[in-house]
Structures are given as structure tokens and as C-alpha cells.
């Protein structure tokens, strides 16, 4: 079992090397990348099932034991995230191959994409804070390359902002690591969770806040989100889709992992996090309402929805954390699906500005369906996953008597529906006001190239499926949350083997 768990990290890394080797043959690159991601998806699925049934799998990398060496810990949360991330990476790769211009003209695309995949997988699996830093850097460096691959003026400008902000966050992470090591003498998560409660209470809170800022920048919470709506929309659509789906959620994952595992109840900044959650939801969605470019609207919605996940975490109850994890899975599917549809609209309509596209309901009805399903799910309509996710979060919030954050969530949900209606009216319903700059493509029978439509449709199906099978999925999330809220379980699994 332990070998299978490491495959989602190792296979994409191997594939990255092979893709560089096959730089001249586009076909060989595609074959290698697709094989590696298909195998990682299978491995992630197998480990999710095995871990849920038999318990956590811990792997000592390099044969060194737990507190000293690097450990990979595949518990329920890690494997859930791994499974949804590998599926998303695979589907978006298929879309990128199908889209004219996205990966075709750049030799480095596949390699950078594979390194991104390995970095994401490693940040979920790692059992120590320093390896998490390294995994973040792998993922981010690959994302810098993917974002600026086109080399246009717009991409370089916003890429620069993105790189500098990420680097400042990385320096803060290093500083936090250094201070944690000085105080405790370890970077292993299990070991840290034993030693941090012995520190002075003020110091514990300081560390909790420091890590909140570090991962808050990556997760794009209020007031640290300004870089996101600025930089994401300039990248090619498959790249934006994978960033939107995965990168911020890795930040949320790190928040969940560190706040729940490392800090005792008294040191957790619960009130601060609830405020952050409420403000992130409302400010993010207000930003979206003010925009009139499809990709920018969706980028602001990423921020807004992060608020819901932080809210679930900040309740620090089983119901809240389970809802937060469910919401992350739902968001990965829905956000990626929406951005892929946005890419199709840009392809078929010639622009992503709402004033320059229009009437797609008549010319490409398939696209309208592909947009409507994830859009309604995002706004929280039954029977899609968004409804269950929001319902569970509000239920948990009411259960903890945090009424104002629940009301902020309800307001944000209504405004989300409003801005989805705006996209619907602008791109699908009304005729276009101006001509797009780029030439529109013929949508054909399916609303675009089949390789682009099929992955997008799969995400739409997935959000309905997650909603319909939410019973068993939600039980899994509850088991996950119960394990997370009891750090001694994680400790004994990693240290006493």
C-alpha cells in the first residue's frame, strides 16, 4: 500500500523529466503526461478507498524514521484531496490538449504541468512543515511558468505581481519555520503537535496567527486576496482553471491541517477566522458584481467561496470541519468546470468580455447547459453539490450559534446568484453589444472541439453526482473531521508504529 500512496508524487515527476526529453515530439509528450496522470488518479482513488477502510498509511521517505526523516502521511483528508486533485488535473490536461493554442505552441507546458501536479500531491501527503514548504515552492514555481508561458505584456505584468506576492508569502513561511524550530526543535507535524502545547500561551497564539497569514495569502482570504483577481484571468483558460480549482484550495488544506493538528483549542484564532470568513465571502462577491469580464467575475468568486471553507474550519466542530472539507471538494469541481466553460465561451465567442459575446444560447446551446449546471451549483441550488455544501455549513454555523457569519453567507449566496445571472444574460441571452477582437470559432454540434467539451461536461456531471450521492460522501467527511479534531490519533499513527 505504501508504494501506491507515493505514486501521485513520483509519476508526475518522472513524466516531467520524460516530457523535457521528448521536447520535439508533441505526441510522445502527450502520451507520457496522460499516462502518468491516469495512473496517479487510479493510485489516488485506490489509496482513498484503502485508507478509509484500513486506516492511515505512513511512508518513511529514504528509510529514516518519523521525527527526523521525511514522512508522507496519507490520512483521510490527504487522500480525499489527492483523489479530487488528480481527477481535476487529468481532465484539465485533456482540455488543454483539445484547445488550440494552449499547450500546442509551448514545449515546456507539459513538463511544468507535471511538476505542478507533483507539487500539489506532495503538499497534501507531506507529514512535516518543511517538506510542505518545498512542495509549495514546486507547485508555485511551476505555476509561475504556466502563467507567463505566453509571454504577452499582460501576462508578464500580472505574472510579476503574482510571483512577488507568492515569494513574500514564502519568506514569511520560512520565517515561521525558523521560529517554530527555535521554539520546539522539530518541523515534523506530529512532533510539533506534541511540543507546541507546552509553549507559553502567547507564543502559541503568535504561531497560530503567523501560519494563518502565511496560508491565508496562498488561500486568498480577506484582506490578502488582491493579487488573485488581478493575475488569474490573464493566463490561458486551462491554466486559469487548474489554478482556480487547486492552488487556493491547497492553501485552505494547509490551514485546516495546521490549525487543527498543531494548536490546542485556546490558541486557535477562532474569532479572527470567523471575521475573516465573513468578510472574504461578502467582499469577494461584491468584487464579482462590479466586474464585466467573465474570467474576472469568476476569479472574484474564487475568493468569495474561500470564505465559506474558512467559516467551516473556524467553527472548530465536527460538523463545521466536515462541511468545510465537503465544500472544498465541491468547489474544486465547480470552479474548474466554470473556468473551462469560460474558456469555451472565449473560444466560440472570441472574447471573455460580457459586452462582446452574446446570444450563445442560440448559437451554442450545449455551452449554455455546461455553464448553467456549475453556475447553479455555485449559487447553491439543489440537487447539486453546492446546495448540500452550503446547507451543511449553515447548519453547522447555526449549531455553534454563530448567526452573523451564517447571515453573511446567505447574503453572499444571493449575490452569487445575481452575478451568475449577469453572466447568463450577458453571454448567453442578450445579443452582443460590440464585435469581439478575436475571430469567433464555429461552435459546431457540441459547442466546441470535442476534447474541450467532454472534460467540461464531466465536471458538470460530477457536481450533480456529488450532490446526489452526498449521503455516503458526507459520512466520509464526518469520519475525516472526527479524525482531524483529535490530534492524538494523527500523532500515534505517525510516531508510534
Amino acid at each position: 500500500m505504501s508504494a501506491i500512496v507515493t505514486l501521485p508524487v513520483l509519476l508526475p515527476l518522472l513524466a516531467a523529466g520524460l516530457c523535457m526529453l521528448f521536447g520535439r515530439s508533441r505526441r510522445a509528450q502527450r502520451a507520457v503526461a496522460l499516462t502518468a496522470l491516469t495512473a496517479s488518479t487510479a493510485a489516488a482513488m485506490a489509496s482513498l478507498i484503502a485508507v478509509d477502510r484500513d486506516g492511515t498509511v505512513v511512508v518513511d521517505a529514504g528509510g529514516w524514521g518519523a521525527p527526523i526523516g521525511i514522512v508522507l502521511v496519507a490520512d483521510r483528508l490527504a487522500t480525499i484531496m489527492l483523489a479530487i486533485a488528480t481527477i481535476t488535473l487529468l481532465l484539465v490536461l485533456v482540455y488543454a490538449i483539445g484547445q488550440p493554442g494552449a499547450e500546442r505552441h509551448h514545449v515546456g507546458f507539459q513538463s511544468a504541468y507535471m511538476i505542478l501536479a507533483a507539487g500539489v500531491a506532495l503538499s497534501f501527503l507531506t507529514g512535516d512543515l518543511f517538506t510542505m514548504f518545498v512542495a509549495f515552492e514546486m507547485m508555485l514555481t511551476a505555476s509561475y511558468v504556466l502563467m507567463t508561458l505566453g509571454g504577452t505584456q499582460d501576462q508578464v505584468r500580472s505574472g510579476m505581481t503574482y510571483v512577488v506576492i507568492s515569494l513574500v508569502a514564502s519568506v514569511l513561511f520560512i520565517a515561521a519555520l525558523a521560529l517554530l524550530y527555535t521554539a520546539t526543535g522539530t518541523v515534523n507535524l506530529a512532533d510539533l503537535s506534541e511540543r507546541i502545547p507546552t509553549l507559553a500561551p502567547g507564543l502559541q497564539s503568535a504561531f497560530a496567527l503567523l501560519l494563518l497569514v502565511v496560508f491565508g495569502i496562498k488561500a486568498a482570504v480577506f484582506p490578502l486576496f488582491f493579487w488573485l483577481p488581478d493575475s488569474y484571468p490573464t493566463a490561458p483558460s486551462p491554466v486559469t482553471a487548474i489554478f482556480a480549482g487547486l492552488l487556493t484550495k491547497v492553501g485552505v488544506y494547509a490551514l485546516i491541517r495546521t490549525q487543527l493538528l498543531l494548536f490546542p483549542d485556546a490558541a486557535r484564532p477562532a474569532t479572527v477566522m470567523l471575521w475573516i470568513a465573513g468578510l472574504t465571502m461578502v467582499v469577494g462577491v461584491l468584487g464579482a458584481v462590479a466586474q464585466n469580464d467573465l474570467k474576472r467575475i469568476l476569479s472574484f468568486h474564487i475568493v468569495s467561496q474561500i470564505g465559506y471553507m474558512v467559516m467551516g474550519l473556524a467553527l472548530f466542530t465536527v460538523a463545521g470541519v466536515a462541511a468545510a472539507v465537503y465544500f472544498i471538494v465541491h468547489q474544486v469541481v465547480v470552479k474548474t468546470g466554470l473556468f473551462l466553460t469560460g474558456g469555451l465561451v472565449e473560444h466560440v465567442g472570441g472574447s471573455s468580455r460580457l459586452s462582446r459575446v452574446g446570444g450563445l444560447m442560440g448559437t451554442a446551446p450545449m455551452l449554455a447547459v455546461l455553464f448553467l449546471v456549475p453556475a447553479l451549483s455555485l449559487a447553491g441550488f439543489p440537487p447539486m453539490s453546492g446546495f448540500i455544501g452550503k446547507f451543511a455549513l449553515f447548519d453547522a454555523g447555526v449549531g455553534s450559534a454563530e448567526f452573523w457569519v451564517v447571515s453573511a453567507g446567505v447574503v453572499a449566496a444571493f449575490l452569487t446568484l445575481f452575478s451568475m445571472t449577469k453572466i447568463w444574460a450577458g453571454a448567453f441571452w442578450n445579443p452582443k453589444e460590440r464585435e469581439p477582437q478575436a475571430t469567433p470559432h464555429d461552435p459546431g454540434r457540441w459547442g466546441g472541439p470535442l476534447l474541450m467539451v467532454v472534460p467540461t461536461a464531466t465536471f458538470a456531471v460530477l457536481t450533480v453526482a456529488i450532490g446526489l450521492w452526498s449521503g455516503p460522501i458526507y459520512e466520509l467527511m464526518t469520519r475525516t473531521a472526527e479524525g482531524l479534531l483529535d490530534p492524538s490519533v494523527y500523532r500515534s499513527e505517525v510516531l508510534d508504529r
Binding site: 505584456q153 514564502s170 519568506v171 524550530y181 474576472r296 477582437q437
Partner: protein
């Protein structure tokens, strides 16, 4: 010694932060370099001081802590790679615009000029020129 190193790290953080907030790309990159040095120095001071951490150099209790040294090395390599990428980006930006400044963000411009959203590239260019005219030449300050 520790106080000296802590002071050095603090100075690097302060100067780095100041430089990152500038508008010239070259200054931002130097600032990032200093910031990461500050981080690495802080990481290096995290462990116990002592003799070189090599077996046979002395009694194990007198050796320095090798873990932060290993972590620092890794961090240095990572920041080295990312700084190289940043330089390449800055060079690309210079090739495209023949200017070392961070370019104006179009949406920020709209807000600054108190207008609605931009629709046309021609529109935008006109606004950019207006803004550059309004700004005193070679002041190097942020127009906001």
C-alpha cells in the same frame, strides 16, 4: 553572536520590505533577494551553535545542530531558482515595454480616473497617456 545575527536578519527584512514596495522592477528583485536572505539567516540561527556538525570533530553534545543548516541549503537553492525566473520575467517585461517600471493595472487605472470599465484598447491607450501626462516626469513615485 546570536543578537548580531538576529539584528542582521531584521535589517535585511526591513531593507527588503522597503525595496519590494518600490515601483522599479530591478529594485523589487533586489528587495526579494534581501528578504529571502533574511529568511535564510533566521532559519540558520534556529539551531544550536557549536563545532562543525561532522562525525569525529568532537563530542556530539558540542556539535552544532545540522538540521537548520540542511533546511537553509534547500531554501537557498529554491530562492536561487525563483530569483532567476524573476530576472527572466523582468527582462521580458523590459523587452516588451522598454521600461523598468511595474506597468499600470488597467482596472486600477479605471478606478483612478473615476470612469467606468474600459472597453477598447484605443480607449485605454488614451487613458494611459493622460495619466503619464498628469504625472510629473521622472518622479518615480506611485501615482496613487
Amino acid at each position: 553572536m546570536s543578537v548580531l545575527l538576529a539584528g542582521a536578519a531584521a535589517a535585511l527584512f526591513a531593507i527588503g520590505t522597503y525595496l519590494v514596495l518600490q515601483r522599479k522592477l530591478s529594485r523589487i528583485i533586489i528587495g526579494i533577494g534581501l528578504l529571502t536572505h533574511g529568511g535564510n539567516l533566521l532559519l540558520l540561527t534556529a539551531g544550536r551553535r557549536g563545532l562543525p556538525a561532522l562525525i569525529g570533530e568532537g563530542d556530539p553534545s558540542e556539535l552544532s545542530d545540522p538540521v537548520p543548516q540542511a533546511l537553509t541549503l534547500t531554501a537557498i537553492v529554491i530562492t536561487f531558482g525563483v530569483t532567476a525566473l524573476l530576472l527572466a520575467l523582468a527582462y521580458r517585461s523590459w523587452l516588451l515595454s522598454r521600461d523598468d517600471e511595474v506597468e499600470h493595472d488597467l482596472s486600477d487605472l479605471d478606478i483612478l480616473l473615476g470612469r467606468g470599465s474600459h472597453e477598447d484598447d484605443a480607449d485605454l491607450l488614451e487613458r494611459l497617456e493622460q495619466l503619464d501626462d498628469a504625472e510629473p516626469p521622472a518622479s518615480g513615485t506611485d501615482p496613487t
